[in-house]
């Protein structure tokens, strides 16, 4: 018999716009020792399903119908006290953001103790030893010392390990991992997922892996369920579902995932593909970065965030700046964007050194219009009190030379260019979807027709199908407006789709740079190779053409 059985689950939320059916008639089961992946884009109801079975739905959310049975216990009708015992001891959860899941002002060891004591797994006398054991079990080195650390003193990956230790402290039988590696670097993601898979195998756990990443689901699960808008569209063995997707939605998802050997146009559904514009890379360098260095003065002495970085971008060329968090790529792009002053080095733009104008005065510099940025998080980059129209018009009003009426026309033209319906222009950011906000951000950045556009992980917060559309939009815009791109990202597969050349950074230094095919195909440095290997192998779109993705750890 299955350990967990969900039958015809329906969950609805009361909102100001009326009732929203978040989950509609979903049936799933998880056998003992099995890992089920639930894959879907935002709003698909994949997280709500797991919250429903833990009975931790937000206010306004109710289970409308269906049966939830866990090992013979009716979870839907269980009392609150019974649920409190089940949570943690029988079913436990790893949350998306490890920093938010930990209490910021309590030592991590103490937090593990709390769970152990709450479920009677330890006494006051041995709680500390047990907590350290639990930390060692998730391969935290020097657990005795880390016991005293606060969450902010640990890296993201280390925090996620603590969260895993918390989840596993009471030997649950079912582990729910809700996007456990979102926000982590690829190499950390691999380390964390390998650890989770290993612990699952070691302890014979059942698990539900909730993710939007098909590659991750393929690599770390036995069975995959695909959800869309609250409904289950397809379910099957992990290898099977990616090799031969049956449902059109699954096919679209698989096709939209960036992977080796696939061009940016092929991410789109066949009917939406238009011929790719031919590359027209100029011969003159637009931007030359020479020995750029940035040193931050901190309490513990100077920290060199960027060390003598040099590269160039030619006209209409796309250069990818790749590296993991803390490698200095954001600092480098902030200096080029003139938001930060470099400690030394030159930023030659069209032959003039931009570094000579201090960042503080650059806002009123005429060259400001030629350097623009598309932000990583579109939501954060739009003023919540400004409508989309006002946000797009702002750079035109400040740096453009248009009167009010011309500006209005220009904004409408820009909206059309980025594929934003005109009637959405008067909405506020929170009334727009993720993809629409990304378009507003792009429209604002290209409003002044910049020569260089820095793209700071512009699709990191987007679903794969929308990412595919936005990446294609960027390719088209580049061809139409003749801009150069500096694409900052940690995801080599996405960078490859857009970039002619790639610069790989680590620890503030450039470790490798060269044409995209060369860096991706025959990386010269070990670091680039480890980055490439750490990315979960996205499933191949063509049936069986490349074989099935191997599971990371055999179960």
């Amino acid at each position: 018999m299955a350990l967990l059985d969900i039958r015809d689950l329906a969950v609805s939320f009361r909102t100001r716009r009326g009732t929203v059916e978040a989950v509609r008639g979903v049936s799933l089961s998880v056998a003992r020792g099995e890992t089920l992946a639930i894959v879907g884009e935002s709003g698909s109801g994949k997280s709500v399903t797991s919250y429903a079975l833990m009975r931790i739905l937000d206010a306004g959310g109710t289970i409308k119908a269906g049966e939830l049975t866990y090992g013979g216990v009716d979870l839907r009708r269980a009392g609150e006290r019974e649920m409190a015992d089940i949570r943690g001891r029988e079913i436990s959860m790893i949350f998306q953001n490890p920093r938010a899941a930990l209490n910021p002002i309590r030592k991590v060891g103490r937090q593990i103790e709390d769970v152990l004591l709450r479920h009677g797994r330890a006494t006051r006398l041995n709680a500390r030893a047990r907590a350290i054991e639990a930390m060692e079990a998730v391969r935290i080195r020097e657990a005795g010392r880390r016991y005293h650390a606060y969450p902010f003193e640990l890296s993201g990956g280390m925090c996620q390990r603590v969260v895993i230790a918390l989840a596993l402290a009471c030997d649950p039988k079912l582990l729910i991992a809700d996007e456990p590696t979102t926000g982590l670097d690829v190499t950390t993601q691999k380390a964390v997922m390998d650890l989770v898979a290993e612990l699952i195998a070691e302890r014979g756990l059942s698990a539900i892996l909730i993710t939007h990443d098909l590659g991750l689901a393929a690599a770390y699960s036995d069975r995959v369920a695909v959800m869309r808008r609250g409904e289950l569209v397809e379910e099957g063995a992990a290898a099977e579902i990616f090799a031969r997707p049956q449902h059109p939605y699954t096919q679209k998802l698989v096709a939209a995932t960036p992977r080796q050997g696939v061009g940016v146009r092929e991410l789109l559904p066949p009917e939406a593909r238009t011929p790719a514009p031919p590359p027209r890379i100029g011969s003159r360098p637009l931007l030359e970065v020479v020995n750029l260095t940035k040193t931050f003065e901190t309490g513990d002495g100077p920290v060199q965030a960027v060390k003598r970085v040099s590269f160039e971008i030619r006209q209409s060329e796309s250069v990818g700046l790749v590296g993991e968090s803390g490698c200095g790529k954001s600092t480098t792009s902030a200096m080029i964007m003139r938001l930060l002053d470099p400690t030394s080095g030159a930023i030659l733009f069209d032959g003039q050194d931009l570094a000579e104008t201090p960042a503080r005065r650059f806002a009123r510099d005429p060259r400001r219009a030629q350097l623009q940025l598309v932000f990583q998080d579109a939501t954060d980059s739009l003023n919540p009190r400004w409508s989309a129209r006002a946000s797009i018009a702002d750079p035109l009003a400040r740096l453009g030379r248009l009167d009010r009426r011309a500006r209005r026309a220009c904004v409408e033209e820009l909206a059309e260019l980025v594929g934003l319906p005109g009637e959405l222009l008067d909405r506020f950011p929170h009334q727009l979807s993720g993809g629409q906000k990304a378009r507003v951000g792009i429209a604002r950045a290209i409003a002044l027709e910049p020569k260089l556009l820095i793209l700071d992980e512009p699709t990191a917060a987007l679903d794969v199908s929308i990412q595919a559309v936005v990446l294609n939009l960027l390719v088209d815009l580049k061809a139409r407006l003749g801009m150069s791109y500096l694409f900052v990202s940690h995801d080599l597969q996405v960078v490859r789709l857009l970039c002619d050349r790639i610069v790989v950074m680590r620890g503030g230094e450039v470790v490798e740079q060269g044409p995209a095919e060369q860096v991706m195909g025959a990386p010269a440095s070990d670091y680039t190779r480890s980055l490439l290997e750490a990315a979960p192998r996205p499933p191949s779109g063509e049936a069986g053409s490349r074989g099935l993705p191997p599971r990371a750890v055999p179960l």
């Binding site: 806002a363 009123r364 954060d380 919540p384 946000s391 400040r398 506020f428 009334q431 629409q436």
Partner: protein
Amino acid sequence: MTDLAVDRPAPRPSALRHVAYVLRSNPLTLIAFLLLALLLVAALFGPAIAPYDPYASDAPAALQPPSWSHWFGTDNLGRDVFSRVLVASRLDLAISVSAVALSFVMGSVLGAAAGYWGGWTDRLTSRMLDTIMAFPLFVLAMGIVSALGNTVENVVYATAIINVPFYARLVRAEVNIRREAGFALAARLSGNADWRVLALHIFPNALPPMMVQVSLNLGWAILNAAGLSFIGLGVRPPTAEWGIMVAEGANYIVSGEWWMAVFPGAALMLAVFTFNLLGDGLRDMVDPRLRT
């Protein structure tokens, strides 16, 4: 284009409909706004609707208990307490609203500058505000009024000064957390000078918590002004003002003429209660994120 296809064309809700929604969703807010309307009517039309002249004394009718002809009774000079309470609302509201407006503006400017530029601007402003906060505020207000002179304007200035730190600290914190937000950087990239980023992009986002502060503060400012006149500072008799009326009536409570102090006191309480209730509703109204 999936993200666009699923979108239904929702009608853009007007500001009025948003206000209606906020009022409907929280009955307490509705009560608060009804009470506010009552206060505003009293303040605007008080002299016109008052049944008696609030300053006309009528010795034979002195110290009468509440009755049909004098709802709130009469005072020791035979003046109608109801008319005086009604007329006093204009002065009391005017003092508190102008004091709060002054401290809102001063606090916003100081706090926004401190939060945005940090460093010396911040240190100087913050220590200055700490100095104000170090005094018992009512005693400080008394000191200011007696130093500047015993007038209504000086009551307004004193009330404003002792309230500035609350606004400044709030704005400073709100601005500080948004200084490095994506939309502030984007505004700089769009060619906005620092003051523009601060005033047009960052500051408006601090409005929702400010509204809560404003409404709580209005109640507090009324109490403060009434308190000052109660001890004989600021407004002087025979002006109709709630604080003075309570002070005058206090002498008669012992002899049983309770209505002289209780009714202006109740009016004072009602005003403070209204403003305190108002906070949440005002915040919801100025927060665009609550509009769907």
